[in-house]
């Protein structure tokens, strides 16, 4: 079973992009592939599912961290789980790593139980860690983690892939935040895994370190690895992922390519001082939401120009006009509004 799967996953990077798009269309087929023993089915179907959550719920006492989530990761693709803090991203990753058990539903990795130790030699994980042993040197940490795997990358390769060459003799406690994240990244890749989980890889990093880490992740992706990353930056998901799943309050509320997700979330915010009533503003076509903010109003709209045109026509005294892109906060609001409505209807 294992060598057969390995063959399927070990495909040249050049095929990667085409396949990941195809895999979305044939998602249901790909699910079947892994269980379908027929060699013909295997050769015709595109990238198989390497990890999946099937109707998975996870409760922590009173908190419903995940609510019947269906989610799949296909071989060779980069998927981003995008969501605000507390949305359930880390919970999903921990379930897929076999670090915790679902309350309901099935979690599969490489077609089997994620706690299966043999699967763990094929996965690497970068998790959010409060404290890493500080008195060990960078290369010592990597040496130890490499020893767990059967076929690890040579130390020099890990150091260069994670950008650690110059700091390999430094103790972990002496590193900056960005350098620490890179060491954790190095530990995730040192075993040369097929499937990589990156939980908030760039949280707390400055722009420069963030971009450096993105570069390192891209290099890895070019080698045909499968990557699941979680983030609360739309920009990060856009920069790295083939596919984005937006998660909020334990449910996946939107799923699609970065372009599709951006189209759904690209709202504009118009701010101005106007004599028009709130009711009159709401009647303008294209206005999604209006709220008062001190002496001004804030108008949310999917496209700004037609709304602005109407505003200027209807109110000659309008002043203080500002148009900005809606932040991710608004984007999430827009995407999650629908799911919240469903909740209240239930």
């Amino acid at each position: 079973m294992m060598p057969l799967l390995a063959e399927k996953f070990g495909k040249p990077p050049s095929q990667r992009n085409g396949e990941s798009k195809k895999s979305q269309r044939e998602k249901s087929m790909a699910t079947v592939t892994i269980l379908d023993p027929s060699p013909f089915a295997a050769s015709t179907a595109s990238a198989p599912t390497v990890a999946s959550l099937e109707a998975v719920s996870k409760n922590y006492e009173q908190i419903r961290a995940l609510r019947s989530v269906d989610f799949e990761v296909h071989a060779g693709e980069v998927v981003a789980l995008l969501g605000p803090n507390g949305a359930g991203k880390t919970t999903a990753v921990k379930l897929l790593l076999g670090l915790s058990q679902p309350t309901a539903g099935k979690v599969r990795v490489f077609g089997g139980d994620p706690t299966n130790p043999a699967n763990r030699t094929r996965t690497g994980a970068m998790l959010q860690v409060g404290k890493v042993p500080e008195t060990l040197r960078v290369r010592e940490h990597i040496d130890l983690f490499s020893s767990y795997y059967g076929n690890p990358l040579p130390l020099a390769e890990v150091l260069s892939a994670a950008g650690l060459e110059k700091i390999s003799d430094r103790k972990f406690g002496d590193l900056s935040g960005g350098q620490r994240q890179r060491v954790l990244f190095g530990l995730a890749i040192c075993g040369n895994p097929d499937l990589l989980f990156l939980d908030e890889p760039t949280v707390g990093l400055d722009v420069e370190s963030r971009r450096a880490l993105w570069e390192e992740i891209r290099v890895l992706v070019q080698r045909g690895k499968t990557v699941l990353l979680t983030t609360h930056y739309l920009e990060e998901a856009d920069a790295l992922a083939d596919r984005i799943a937006v998660i909020n309050q334990g449910s996946i509320v939107a799923e699609g390519t970065p372009d599709e997700i951006k189209a759904k979330t690209s709202g504009k915010r118009i701010r101005c001082v106007t004599s028009l009533s709130l009711a009159a503003l709401r009647r303008i076509p294209g206005v999604v939401e209006v709220r008062e903010d001190r002496d001004a109003v804030e108008i949310s709209a999917s496209v700004a120009e037609p709304v602005v045109r109407q505003l200027l026509v209807q109110d000659a005294t309008l002043s203080g006009l500002e148009v900005t892109s809606a932040g991710l906060e608004e984007a999430f609001l827009a995407l999650t509004q629908e799911s919240n409505k469903d909740d209240t209807q239930e």
């Binding site: 079973m1 023993p37 089997g112 130790p117 996965t123 409060g130 042993p133 008195t135 060990l136 040496d143």
Partner: protein, 278 residues
């Protein structure tokens, strides 16, 4: 491989959670590296070496070499007697701090999750902590003997010295087990305080600071259920100052204590299996 075989092997995979195919030499390498880096980690941790090595040695120099060097307790010279008791004290400190504080911090602050997500054999982590505690225990005991030999006129036959070192190093095991139990129930910040709260009163009541016969009667009765008392009696027996209880009884108590602690640690381990941190 035909269809049925694949289905069967995948079913078996799901049911039996197969072990990773590793050669014995690969497994040995993992355990060795885990222990090597655990040793280096602690050696470079000033908090650890300072409290674990310096305190027993300082006490020994002060109470065994500077003061009381010419006295004798129960027919054994004070420098000799105190090697057994401060040796027990040192072993206890090396083992409790070597296991509990690291484990509590690794658990509470996410590092253990990273290790558990890797293909590390879970036992390697625990064995490394116990073995390294035994090594530091050995270092403390040897340093005490060396000091006693150089400045306190302590003379041993080699056989007895080996027996003393061996006994005390083995005595690290119950306290490492106790450390694992504490490490599973103490928070990352509170672990050192919790250890001290157990370690210091226990040492006093077991006669590790003040020779046993000088302790109040009620304390001496409490001591009978305390593991450091039993380890120190085994050590004192070797240097000729034991209370002539059977050595087997002491070992039995220590063994039972180890089992209880491992049982508690196991409850903590299972409780942790499904808990989210941060």
């Amino acid at each position: 491989m035909n269809a049925e075989e694949i289905i069967m092997s995948s079913t078996a995979a799901a049911l039996t959670s197969p072990r990773i195919e590793r050669s014995p030499s690969h497994i040995a390498t993992i355990y060795l590296k885990e222990a090597k880096y655990e040793f280096l980690k602690n050696l470079r941790l000033r908090m650890y070496t300072a409290s674990v090595l310096s305190f027993p040695l300082m006490f020994y120099v002060l109470f065994g070499l500077v003061l009381n060097a010419k006295e004798a307790i129960a027919g054994t010279s004070v420098p000799m007697y105190l090697i057994a008791t401060y040796g027990t004290f040192g072993v206890m400190g090396a083992s409790l701090f070597g296991t509990a504080s690291g484990l509590a911090s690794d658990r509470g602050l996410g590092w253990l999750q990273v290790k558990r997500a890797s293909p590390m054999p879970p036992f390697a982590y625990f064995i490394a902590k116990v073995v390294v505690s035994m090594i530091f225990s050995g270092i403390v005991v040897l340093a005490l003997i060396l000091l006693g030999f150089a400045f306190g006129g302590v003379r041993f036959p080699l056989g007895e010295m080996t027996k003393l070192v061996g006994t005390l190093v083995m005595g690290s095991v119950p306290f490492s087990a106790m450390g694992l139990a504490i490490g599973y129930f103490a928070g990352p910040q509170s672990a050192p305080a919790t250890i001290n709260l157990i370690y210091l009163p226990m040492s006093f009541c077991s006669g590790l600071w003040v020779p046993f016969m000088f302790l109040p009667k009620v304390v001496r009765q409490i001591a009978l259920v305390l593991p450091p008392y039993h380890l120190s009696q085994l050590a004192l027996g070797i240097v000729g100052a034991g209370k002539h209880e059977s050595g087997a009884t002491h070992w039995e108590v220590l063994f039972a204590f180890t089992m209880i602690c491992l049982g508690i640690a196991r409850i903590g381990f299972q409780r942790d299996q499904d808990k989210l941190y941060g």
